[in-house]
Structure formats: C-alpha cells, structure tokens
Assembly symmetry: C2
Homo-oligomer: 358 residues x 2
C-alpha cells in the first residue's frame, strides 16, 4: 500500500475553471488544502482554494515555486504546455502521468493508442495538406469530420464534410494545423464512462451516462443510460483496460459510441469530465472526490449509483432560466461563479434527481 498524503497536505491544481473549482471543494472535504495555478484573475477555482498563483505557463520561476509549495500536482485540462510540465515534474509528482497527457493531447496518438489496445475507433487518416486530404478521403470516405490533432474542445477545431466537395473549405478551417479525418460512425447514442484508478491499481467506474450534445457542446447526461447488461459490462471493462495500459492515476472520461457492432471509443479525457457531474447528486463519493482520492493515494469509493439523475448544462443564456431551476425542489443547481455570461460559455449545471429506477 502507498502511504496517502496526510490531511492538511496541499494539492496543486493546474487550471482555475469549474473543474478546478469542484476539485477544490472535494479536496477540502477530505481535509486537504488546494493551490490553483491559473493565469486568469477571479477564476472559479480561486474562490474556494487556499492559494492562487496567478501566473503564466511561460513563467518558469512561478512554476517552480508552485511545484515546491504543493505535495502533489493534478490538472483540470489536458492542453498543458510540455515545457511547463518539464519544469513542474522536476519538483513534484504529477497525476495523471505524462503518458496520459501525451496520448490525449494529440488525436492521432490517441486513436493509434486505442487501436493498438484492440479497441474500436472511428476510421481515421492524417491530413496535413491537400494531397493527404485527398488520400484521407479515399481511405475514410465521406461524410466525415476533419479535426485538428491538438487543442480541440467543445466542438472547436472541427469541420464536417458532407461529401468530398467540402474538402477545400474544411482544410481551410484548420488554418494549416495538423489534422485528422475521422470517418462517420453510425451510432444510436453516445455514452461515457467515468473511470478511476488508484495509485495501487484499484479501478472503479461510475455507471455509464448517456450524453446528448447541442452545437458540439454537451447538453445533458442521463443515468441510467440505455445499455444492455453486456454493453454496460463492455463499457466498464474497456475503460479499465485503457487506465491500466496507461498506469493511470486519477479519473478519466471515456466517450463511447453505441453501435450494433459494439462500443466505439470516441475520445478520452485525462481528467474529471462534464459527463460525470451527475455523480455529485447520484453517488456517495462523486467524480471530483474520486479523483482527489486517487491522486493523494487514498482508496477509491465504489462508485455505486444511489439515484437516477439527469444532468443539464447551463450554457450562456440558459442562465435566464435560473429562477425557475432554483425553484425545482428536487433539483440541485451548481454554479461556477463566473462573472460574465457569454454565448457557449458553461455557467453551471443542474442535476435533476429522482429515486433509483433500475
């Protein structure tokens, strides 16, 4: 058994958004202090953290000072500059590890890793220019989606091809960035597994949730998801396989397409995940606490679902509905403390809870 960090130890969190905020709260529940590294001021996580390093990821001295002041480092987003990780890692452990970041920062590496594990992915081919684009369409076909290999999130950096005629426009959208053409998958619905792995290799998964997106952004997650018993088992097993292969420590979000041929892995995120927010009101130990438990070396909770939950994201103008949402007597509203509402901006979410149906 690894010796866990003692209560009162400090957890460093890279990123000060809503995920960092909810990680901070979970850490406080277990008696830990948190220190946020985030260039932006008045960020959501800073409101509930002990310390806030408001510094740039280019500031080597600040990174060093941050790493020396904390007992373990984790993060709320995967696009952390490699140069920053190099400095941090000299002074402090980082969970999840570099392998997890390397795999998830690049769609090509990610897809190749998953395929090599024996898991199904959408067909894919790399695209760097008009020539490779033509070859990719020949291989993958259309309809398909062209995506930048790096730094995409919430549908950003993506262009749809209805047919090969859209190739030039889609390629122009990438603005010269290395890209991946992904073939169309004929899926009935998307589910995700929020999986956790402890330092000692214990794996625990939450019940898969069923996701609905709007405009490329997650809109709702519903538990229980529409899955057969064997699909549910498959989902959990393949998530475990991914975590074990990476010697992963922490929580990971694994997005899956449900098809008649089986489950196809869409993408993985090496962090707590929006589609796991339902666990806050559906489980005794939620994804945020599960992640904290993993990175400090504590045993994991069992992930058992106690209630049915529908999680709805509150995006931009959805905040206008806040008075109605707050008046729903069995719904838990979670707000992120962001000062300004903007279109497409995640402002909060609501978990609608009902007694467990199955």
């Amino acid at each position: 058994m690894t010796k866990p960090l003692a209560p009162n130890a400090t957890i460093g969190i890279l990123g000060g958004g809503q995920l960092g905020r909810m990680l901070s709260v979970a850490a406080s529940r277990l008696g830990y202090k948190t220190c946020i590294f985030e260039p932006g001021g008045d960020c959501p996580a800073s409101h509930v953290a002990n310390y806030h390093f408001q510094k740039s990821y280019d500031d080597a001295d600040a990174l060093r000072e941050f790493a020396k002041s904390v007992d373990v480092i984790t993060y709320e987003f995967e696009n952390i500059p490699t140069s920053a990780l190099d400095i941090l890692e000299e002074h402090c452990r980082i969970h999840p590890n570099r392998d997890a970041l390397r795999v998830s920062q690049d769609r090509l590496t990610e897809k190749t890793f998953l395929r090599d594990l024996g898991l199904m992915t959408a067909p894919f081919a790399t695209v760097d220019d008009a020539n490779s684009m033509a070859a990719a369409i020949a291989e993958v076909g259309a309809p398909s989606i062209l995506k930048t290999r790096r730094f995409g999130y919430d549908g950003k950096g993506q262009a749809r091809l209805k047919s090969s005629e859209d190739a030039d426009t889609a390629l122009a959208d990438m603005a010269g960035a290395p890209a991946l053409l992904e073939g169309f998958v004929n899926f009935s619905h998307e589910v995700s597994v929020i999986a956790a792995r402890s330092i000692d290799g214990q794996v625990s998964c939450f019940d898969p949730g069923e996701n609905v997106h709007k405009d490329g952004i997650l809109s709702t997650t519903t538990v229980p998801a529409r899955l057969t018993g064997s699909q549910r088992m498959d989902a959990v097993l393949l998530a475990g396989k991914i975590l074990n292969a990476l010697n992963y420590v922490g929580v990971m979000g694994v997005e899956l397409f449900v098809t008649p041929q089986g489950l196809i892995v869409n993408e993985i995120a090496p962090r707590v995940h929006n589609s796991g927010h339902w666990t806050q009101n559906g489980c005794t130990i939620d994804q945020f606490e599960q992640h904290i438990r993993a990175v400090v070396g504590l045993p994991l909770g069992d992930g058992q679902r106690m209630n049915d939950v529908v999680m709805e994201n509150l995006i931009g103008d959805d905040m206008d509905r806040l008075p109605d949402l707050l008046a729903e007597p069995t719904s838990a509203v979670h707000l992120y403390g962001k000062a300004d509402t903007k279109p497409g901006r995640k402002m909060g979410h609501v978990n609608r809870v009902s007694p467990k149906s199955s």
Copy 2:
C-alpha cells in the same frame, strides 16, 4: 416574492469553524462568494472562502468594514456578542434575526418562549445563588441538571444532580453564572428536526434524525429515526411552529426528547446543526445549501431523504481510525482541515450511506 441575491453576491459568515466551512462550500455551489469573520487564523472556513476578516468581535471598525463589504450576514454560532450585532445590523441584514438569537442565547428565555408557544419542555427553575437553588430543587426535584443560562455547548457549563446533596458542588461549578435547573425527563431517545424557513415564509423540514451522545457530545445521528408516523408529523409541525413564531429565516436545529407523553423540546439552535450533517449524503439539497438558499432569498429544496444514513462524528482520537474509514467504499468522510487533534475536538464526520429502507 422577495428578489433573491444575484449569483456573485457575497455572503458574510460570522464564525470560521466547520459549520462556516460547509456553509461556504454550499454558497459556492450556488455561485456566491463568502467572507468569513473569525478572530482565529487558519480557521476551517477560511480555506474555502473568498475573504477572511481575521479580526476581533471588539473591533468596531472591522465589523463595520465587514458588514459594508457583504450583501447579507449569517452565522455559524449563536453566542455572538450583542455589541457586535448592534454594529453589524446598522449596515447589513442579518439572518436568522435578532429574536432567534435572543431566544437561543439564554436557556431561560428559550424555555419560556417554548412553553408560551404551547410546547412541552423539561420542568425548569432559575438558579442564581444557594437560596434560589434550594427553591429550584423543591420545584423541579432531583435527579436534575444545572446549566448555565448562557454560552453552553457540547455539554460544557452543565452539572448533574443525582440528589439534593449535590446542590453545593453543582452550584460551585457555575462559578456565579446565572443558571437554570432542569428536571429529569424520562425519554426513550432523542431526535432532532433540521427545519428551514425562507424569507417568504416557506417551511421545509428534513426527516428527523435519531441522536446518540457520548460525554455530552453528539456521537451519531441515524436516519430514519425510530418514530411513529404521528410522532414524525408532530416533530415537523412543532418545528414549523417555532420558526413561524420567530419569523425565522434560515436553518434551525430542534432537539426533541421522545417520551410516552409526547415530544419534549430539549433545545433549539438558530443555525445549521451537527445532527443535520447526514443531509450531505442523504438529500439532494443539504442543510448547508438550504440555509444559504434561505438567507439569500431563494426557494428551499424539499428536504426529501433519498438514502438511509448513519452520521458518526470524528472526535479527537477518532482520527486514528481515518485510514479504515477512508477504505469503506460506501462511506463519505468529511474533514474540517483542523491542524491539531485535541481530545473532545470535532475533527470531521463520516456519513455511512445505504439504500433507503423506509
């Protein structure tokens, strides 16, 4: 309808202990900022609050500055100096109100208030000196308990009388403080109702919990409590009566003795209550969020219990059992971030959750 405080408003909290800490977390969930007023440094609530006024309750300037910097004031303990309240109230609303504090700060006022409401209390008589002590014993009898009228908590400021022979020792224990002799109540068990009332007068109660004390300190709270349907109804109705009589806004803890003759009110606490900690893992909206909702003018949650829970306080050396507690896969451990463990000190609690039985 009262207009609620907008998200991003700031809630001032008097007191920086574990209750303030958990109130801060609940406030953050609803998008509010918090500002703690607490003379002690590195206090539990400051770890998860936006601001910490580390100032004395004698510091009129600090109190004024604090009151001006927040949008509403609430508190985690009832023994706030009247002089401080006078200053604060000039600049900012305080919920729950002065009446609630006046009643609960003095056991005589409290018992008289409850009796005047038509509720049952233990027999009581005031004790200031040897003469009134003799009269009180003649009226109330022995066994009985002598309690200071003010500033008692967790069994402090109490002396038991097995018979009238213990009168002198008990009186000496009060060190000249005004006291109350309370007659012995032959009760089978103690329950408490965590009740909430909104600014608009909406009342919502959580399911009563059954309390077990050790050495005068709460040890466990279990839901569901052993109560008949009509006792449960009585408990909730009398709590509502108390809140309405005080035009109360916020959460109150109402401790009740269960006797064959009915429910006897032991004491009330005008704040979130240790015996309501189970709601964190038993309800969609817990007592801390319910209190925040009330004081900012939001509608209340319905208090519906989703699970069975046994809450156990972790006091002093109980922290030695932490590794075992953290390894229980369906138990939620809540720690308060206190640096030093001391005998009798509340360090955290654990909520053991199981599916709802009734």
